[in-house]
Structures are given as structure tokens and as C-alpha cells.
Symmetry: D2
Subunit: 309 residues, 4 copies
């Protein structure tokens, strides 16, 4: 297969990231390559060894995946093309023949422990937990006989010759992880009407109110922010950049003008892509901010300059 038809992802095999990637129709025709880190998955794309990379970016329990946010903010520019939402639900995977009463030791990623705590208190109050490097690694350790059970995605069971003893385990309701499919920048696809735009902003100086002004550039043009996270710039405490998702597509006039406003006002802006919202909720467009109203206003300005307004 050509590099373009290869997709990397945050591995190892059997992780939620792989499951998210496989939920994309095009995954069926791609070579899917697990990588040891978000950085490695993205660098393969940057280096031309892969056409895309699927990485987690946000989790409704743990928050932003800082490795992904920081990797996208610096280095060779990349662009987000798709997002995938995956409900968080664990299965307890065991070797065939194991009964619940046999499970004395369990493993999984530390983030999994947070999600299965209540379930364990009820069903496995005496089991000992030891963390693994990933949920898939935990499954492998059960396969190797080092633990009796592993909390992982149910989809990981066949890979490691295990069976799910319980499924749909998650302490938090609505717990969801959001993944993004990242590639090298290219001409933007047309808007679908239910789009999202991601970008990173470095405020020009550290003056009080700089973040307020950033938000006003969006607000005054009726652009709703869906996510905003501050990340350190690495230049010392108190120095941040802001990673945001905004409703709408860069070709929407209100979004384009807001980003141009920020481009003028900020030290730097990095555009990370406009792509379809996984929830397919159409953008709310406030009165005065439709493309038609932008066009009419531009026509009016031209007439005014011409003495015909």
C-alpha cells in the first residue's frame, strides 16, 4: 500500500483509539498502524509515511489530551479532517473459563481505574488493582497469565484470546472520548452546515483582558465557542496559548472574519481545520451573521464608497 493509504493511530492494538478509527468507513480500505505515542503517530504523517493519524484529543472525564493539543500547536502544521466520538465503556476481559469469583487481580490503564471504581466496589470488592501502560497492554498481561482480569474495550477481547465477563462498565454517565483524524494541510472541503473549526491562539501580550478580547472577536460575530483550553507556551508560568473549537466552517463569513480579527490581534494564530461535527448538529446562526447578510453589507459598503448607498 502507498503511504497515503496508511493511517497511524495511538496504539497498541485493541485500544479505544483503534476502535474509534475502525468506526470510520474509509478505515476498511486503509492499512492501520499502531504507534507508541501521539507524537509518533503524527510524525508519521508529517514525514509522509502515513496519510492520516487518529489520536484522542479530549475526554469528558479527563479533559484535553495534552500530548495531542501540544503536538498540534507546534512543529510542522497539520490539519484536522474528521472527529469521532466514542462512548467510554469498559469490559472485564478474562481468559476463557474464568468466573467472576476467580478474579483476584485486575489491571488496566490508570484512566480506566477511575471509570470502573464503583463497579469494582460492588462486584469485585476484594480484587487487587495494578496499573498497566495501556488498556490493551493490560489485556495482553491477562493473556500471559499475570492478572486474572483486565478492564479494556470489549473489542480488544479477540485480539488477546480473552472473553468479556461483564460489559458496558463506566462510572460516569455520558462519558465520551473525542478523537480527531489528522492529515497534512490541504484545500478545505466544502462546509456541511454542521461544522466545527479548530485553532490555537497566542495572545500578543500578556495584558489583562487579552483573553476577553479574544472571546469578543468570536462573540461580536455570533460565533459560539464549543471548547477552550489554555496550554502553557513553555516560556514560564503565566504564559498561555488557547486552543479552541468554534461552531461553523472557515468559509462561513462570520468565522472567517473572526479568525482574521484574531490574526490581526494575536501574536500568532494556527488554523487546525474546519470539519464536520460528529454530532451533526447544525450551526445556530444569529441574526446579522449569515453569509447573505455579510454579502449584503459588503455590497452596501461598495455602494457607499461610490456615493450610491
Amino acid at each position: 500500500m502507498s503511504p497515503a493509504s496508511r493511517y497511524t493511530y495511538l496504539g497498541p492494538e485493541g485500544t479505544f483509539t483503534e476502535a474509534a478509527l475502525r468506526s470510520l468507513p474509509e478505515a476498511a480500505t486503509r492499512e492501520l498502524v499502531p504507534m507508541v505515542s501521539v507524537a509518533a503517530a503524527l510524525d508519521a504523517v508529517r514525514g509522509g509515511d502515513a496519510g492520516g493519524a487518529l489520536v484522542p484529543i479530549e475526554n469528558s472525564v479527563e479533559g484535553g489530551i495534552t500530548a495531542t493539543l501540544d503536538e498540534l500547536a507546534v512543529g510542522e502544521p497539520l490539519m484536522i479532517y474528521r472527529e469521532v466520538l466514542l462512548p467510554i465503556a469498559f469490559a472485564l476481559l478474562v481468559r476463557p473459563g474464568t468466573a467472576l469469583g476467580d478474579v483476584k487481580t485486575v489491571t488496566g490503564h490508570p484512566a480506566a481505574q477511575v471509570q470502573v471504581r464503583k463497579w469494582m466496589a460492588e462486584h469485585l470488592p476484594d480484587a487487587l488493582w495494578e496499573s498497566a501502560a495501556s488498556n490493551a497492554d493490560g489485556a495482553r498481561l491477562v493473556q500471559e497469565g499475570r492478572f486474572d482480569g483486565a478492564f479494556a474495550g470489549e473489542f480488544a477481547a479477540p485480539t488477546y484470546g480473552l472473553e468479556p465477563l461483564a460489559t458496558d462498565i463506566h462510572d460516569a454517565q455520558n462519558a465520551t472520548t473525542r478523537f480527531v483524524l489528522v492529515g497534512r494541510p490541504a484545500r478545505l472541503a466544502a462546509p456541511t452546515g454542521a461544522d466545527k473549526t479548530s485553532a490555537v491562539f497566542w495572545l500578543r501580550d500578556d495584558h489583562p483582558g487579552a483573553l476577553l478580547e479574544l472571546l469578543q472577536e468570536f462573540a461580536i460575530r455570533g460565533v459560539n465557542l464549543m471548547r477552550i483550553e489554555s496550554r502553557p507556551t513553555g516560556e514560564g508560568l503565566g504564559r498561555y496559548c488557547f486552543s479552541v473549537d468554534a461552531e461553523g466552517h472557515l468559509t462561513d463569513r462570520r468565522v472567517g472574519e473572526a479568525l482574521m480579527g484574531l490574526r490581526r490581534r494575536c501574536l500568532n494564530v494556527r488554523f487546525l481545520g474546519s470539519y464536520p461535527r460528529a454530532d451533526e448538529v447544525a450551526a445556530r446562526v444569529a441574526r446579522g451573521t449569515t453569509d447573505e447578510e455579510f454579502t449584503n453589507a459588503a455590497d452596501w459598503l461598495n455602494r457607499a464608497l461610490d456615493g450610491r448607498a
Copy 2:
């Protein structure tokens, strides 16, 4: 002379308006026609009987000249081409041979009375004041012998065969009247770098905060407002439009985008012209709002759409 070479002004002859008009170099080659009202002066322009009209628009003591503000806001559109500032200073005009001790009765426009009160208390404590329809009318009444003195512009003296007995009379410091030269709309002249833009805004609805949003459209683009006045729309108490002067020229990108923003947000916007500031103070352009920065941001947007940002 052709109508285009005729300038009307708020008469009668000998008013401050005539003096302001004569301060314009081009006045020397125009036919100057006094009119009985601001409406009449402007209607002559609208009807094609005059190429321009000079009318007062603002006074640092009395405030906005509502007749002018309201006439410009409705009816056939007109455009401001020039502004003229005239310090307010009165002369006491008398018939030749009159001494200060002879002045028992004085007249003038009611607005003049406010400006000469302190001077009269000191120099003519016993003189009786009776108002005239205009300062020039007052001078005429002195000429006719009905009063001993008239407070008017010194320039009115020769017209009425009078002599100034005292000059530079004005209670308020820095008292100034601002006049505008109005014509039919035409293609805008190029900016001078020290320009002013006038417009009227009708807010879309009467929701709390609508005025705040109007001001934010200017503020977020670094456009300073030099004057803002609310005027009733005539639709009942609590319904206003806003007449403003902003720093800068409609061809300045920050000004154009602010006015387009208002055009989208408002029920109606009437552009009243971009013209040189009489005080020749160059616009302060905040960081992030220069034409170059607007152009760079537009270039950046195009590159982003193209996958090359």
C-alpha cells in the same frame, strides 16, 4: 451661475454660518445664498438648485443642532464633504458714534445671551436684553434704531453699517460651533489621514444592550467615536437612532468593517460621509487595525482555505 456653483447656507446674511462658509477657499468662486432654515438650505441641494449647503451641526455649548441632525437622517440622502470649526466670539455692534455709556438696550439670538451674560454683568449691568430671531436680525434692528447694541459676529458690522464697540466676547472658554458642507452623494474622495466618518444607526430592536453592541462594533476594531447623540425616531418615547462621528475614513479597513458590522446588526444605517477633520489631527490607529494588518489577515485566510497557512 449654474446651480452647482451655488452654495446655500443658514441665513440671514451676517450670521456665523455665513462667516464659516466664507472661510472656505472655494466660497470665493461660489454664489452664496442665505436660506431661512436648515431644511430650506438642504432642500435646495436635494432639488438640484444648489451644489452645496453649509449648516451648523454642533455647538460646544448648546450641543447638537437637532434640525440639522434630523434633516440629514431622513429624506433624500445627502453627504458631508467638509467641516468647518468657528470659535464663538461676539462683538457688541453699535451705530457709529455710540459710546458704551449710551447702550441701554441690547439684542441678539437667545443662544448669544448665554455667551455674553458675564460680560454684560461687568460692562453693561443695567442694559435691557430682548431676543431677536438671529444675531444678524439683531444687527438689523440696531441699524433701524430699535436697540442700541447687538451681540453678533464682528463680521456682520459692515453689512449693517455698524461698528464693533467690543470684540471677542464669550463666557465659555473654547466655545466653538461646528458646521458641515453638505452635498448630494458622490464617489468618496481619497482619505487624507486625518479624516472623520459620520453615520446614523437605527438599532434593530429595542433590546437592552443594543447600544452597547453598537459601540463594541467600533471598539473591537479600534475605531474611536468622537461624537454620539441619540435622537428620537419619532415612533414614540424610548425609540432612538444614534448619530455618530468616528475617527477615520470609510476606505480605512477598520472603519469599513465596523460599518459593515453595524449594517448587519442594525435595522438601518445611513452613511453621511467621510471627510477631512478640520483640526487635521491624524487618526490614532491601534495595533492590529492598520490597513496592512487587515490585508495580511485576508491573505492568511486565503492561504488557510487553501491549506497553506
Copy 3:
């Protein structure tokens, strides 16, 4: 009668101001004294010669009554205790026996002319108009035989021995004049739930955005502005103070905190009173700005300071 039981008003007798004053129940027990000017009416209150003064403050066609706005803004402080709304409607007053066909000349205040123009075009297309100093003066001139008809309030007819030949004449729909009853400052009456607060603000310096900040002090606390007018401070063009009416009463926590915010931020604030709204519309109180929420927040702060939040 004692001075306290005397009310002055902008005269002469027969004006709309007198009609507005007589609409107040307490007017029946007061001595009503017409004065030649707003300043004279207010000075009588300041000097202790009258307990109150009724003066016009705003007109839905003409705008703010600048004499009143400016008189209230400077000099010995006064306070507004009541407001009165009076629909603008003119009657054509004639001497008994005059028919419409007999009316060749008419008079009235210049402001009246604006309001009866359309009616005259239809019913008296050939009549000549000449302005009078007030509507009441016009009625007097008809009584004296100098004009055939006067446009004035219908209530002026008996005073001048005239009869209304037509009534309810007004070109603008909803045309209304607003009057205020002004007295010397005293302890505020309790809120009615449908109150209005008036004040004047002098911005601390002339920095861009100062007006925006003023509006934000109100907006952030959910206080709706019903009227805002800029008035020159007299210190030169471009120097303004702002006269506002806000929804609510100074004892409403949201209003009190907003005015304290402005007191801190402004060069000067003059409180002009909290008084019942003539339209009796109850204040809209946004979530988070009720008195109870203010009290709860203060309790919370005290607990936090005490380590018990």
C-alpha cells in the same frame, strides 16, 4: 399658601406643561405658578420659593429638552420625584363663530407646526402660518384678533375664550411629551416595583471606549437603560456628559451597585432621583440580579472570608 405648597411650571398658562401638571392629583391643592423659562421654574425651587416645578424633559418628536437637561446637570442639586406623560395632540382654536372656511391665518409654537403640517395640507391648504412664542401665546393672539386660528392644547380654549374647531391633530403617531416634577433632594421614597432612576455622568477622561465602559457597568448588572443623551460639558467640542434613565430604583441592589461602579469610574456622577414610571411597567429583573441573589452573594462572601463557604 406656604412656598412648599406652590408648584412652578414652564408657562405661560394654557401650555401643555400646565395640562401635564394639572393631571397630577396633588395639583388640586397647590398654587400653580407659570414661569417664563425652565431655569426660572427650577430656580424658584432651589431658592425655596416653590416646593416643586414641572418642566418638560423629553419629547418623542423633538428629543431631549436641552434647557431642562442642562439645568438639572449643574448648579444646586435637584431631584426628580414624578414623571408625567402627555400625548401630543393639538386643537385648532378659534374665536366663537369662526368656520373652517374663515381661517386664513394660523399661529402656534414652531414645534406645533411640525405636528400639524399634514393636517393643514389637507384641511387648510391655503392658510398662512406665522410662529408664536408658545402655543398659549398663539391662543392669546387669536383672542386679540391678530390670527384666525391657533394650534394649541384643547384645554387652552376656555382660558382665552376660544373654541376648538378640530381636535386630536398630530402628524406623528404616539407623539408624547414627558415632563418631570422636580424638587429639592430628600430621602428617597420606597420603590414601587416599576421605577426609573435618572443620573448624569461625566466620564473621567476622554479615552476611547469610556462610554462603552459606562454602559457595561449597567449591562453586567442587568440594568436596562431607557434613555441616554450626550450633552456638551461646555469645555469644547468633543467633551460630553451623559444623561441617562435606567430601569429600577436606587434601592434595588443591581442599580445601587451599578451607580457605585460609575461613581468609582467617572469624574462625577449626579444622581437625579428614583421615581415611579408613568407607564407603570414593572422592571424586568434578569436572573442573577435580584435583591435576594445580591443578599445571598454577600452572605456567601462573608462565609468565605470566615472559612465556611
Copy 4:
């Protein structure tokens, strides 16, 4: 020792957290107890087993320490009493007698790897890295002979019988970790003039602009925000709370009023303490927001209510 004289910290011994804790003068008289997690360190305080806990809250390279932010935001309330800043600088710790040329394998916490990458490329280009659970754990593994060198704080050397072969290693300039000393809530100590206030806000609803309004409550009162981080509430993607540090002390009127404003506007506010800034930079207090101006404004309001403003 009594529980009150016991301080827990994020262990194990030899971590940067221990070093930060020992930099506090009072640490000399406390029993210092390492705990396996931030949660465990804080729970000891909540449960009364310790008088205080020192935990990392922010790192200029990695960002907010989410375990700490989330633990402080929910559960039994705690309060921050002190902050400690510690520059990030690693030493390469080896067994006595080891020379640089002998170092073939190294270890440390994954976060350390990021900070020593450039140094290793220069000085140990061929050494193999394997991560340890903490920097202190890495030192222990070197003591046990499993690795040749560990990157850890220089202060960890004596604990594990090691020697520093190189010190002050850090790729990023100004890299700093910020720690907070947390205890049970108590009456606030007096301000020092260089204070910081921490709090968490849950916006009342997810309406566009809610964050903007939050920032305005601070901005309008001149309170500068030093840190703002969004954290998921756990109720699903797109639902955030905001953790902030503001300049000033809760007893500063501007800070207290801002927090009351947020208490009214937000679903919930959790106050996390006002405490001295480690950098001892005095608060910038904008004109109009000093305690004296707040007091004067309150006096003015009382006079206004009383008719004496």
C-alpha cells in the same frame, strides 16, 4: 506528633514535591509524610490525619496538574494557604564512582525525559532511556543497580546513596513547577498586598458567551486573571468548569465584588483561598478600584439614598 503538625505530600521521598515542601520554613517543625497520590495527600487533610498537604498544581511545561485541579474542585472543600515555585532542574544521579562514559542506561519520570532530551543528545547520545514511575523511583532503581543513571532532583541523591554527575539540566528556559499548600478552610489571613485568589466556577448554563460574561465580571472591576483553565465537569463533552487565579485578596473590595457577581451569575462558585504570591509582586490596582474608592462610592450611595448626594 499531633495530626495538625503532620504535612502530607505527593511522594515518594526525593521528589520535587518534597523539595518544594522543605523550602517552607515551617516544614522544619512538621512531620512530612509522602503519599502515593494527590488524592491520598488531600484526603489525609480532609480526614483530619494531617494539617496540610503540599501538591503540584501547575507546571510551565506540562500545564495544569489535572489531578490536583479536579480534587480541589469537588468533594469536601479545602483551601490553599501558600504557593511554592520551584525551578525545574534535573541532576544525573549515579552510584559513587560512576563516570559519564559508564552510563549506558538511564531512567526517570516520563515528564523528566522531555526536559533532558537535548542534554542527553549532547552528552549521552547512545544511552538508553526507560521510564520509571517517579523521579525518586528512578533513583532507587539506580541504587539497586538496575540502571546506570537517573534524572531526578539533586536533593534526592543522599536519600538513595547516589552522587550527581551533572546538575541544572533542563531543556526549557524558565521551566517552573508551582505547588500549593492545602488545608481545611479557616478564617482568611489578612492580605499582604501581593496576594492571589483561586476559585472554580460552574457556568449556569451552556449559553454562548457565558465565559465572556465570567471574564467581564473580573475585568470591569480591574481584577487581572493570572491563570484560567477549563476542566470537564464529567457530565459529557462540552460541559466545563473554570479554574482561575486572580490578582488580589478576597478582602480587596474589587475581588470580593467580582466573586459575588460570579456567585450570582454562576451555577456554583467554589472559593479556594486567598494567599501570598510566591513572586511577591504587588497587585496592580487600576484607577477606580481601590478599597478607598469602593468605600467612597458606598458613602456616596448612602448620601444619595438620604437626599444628600
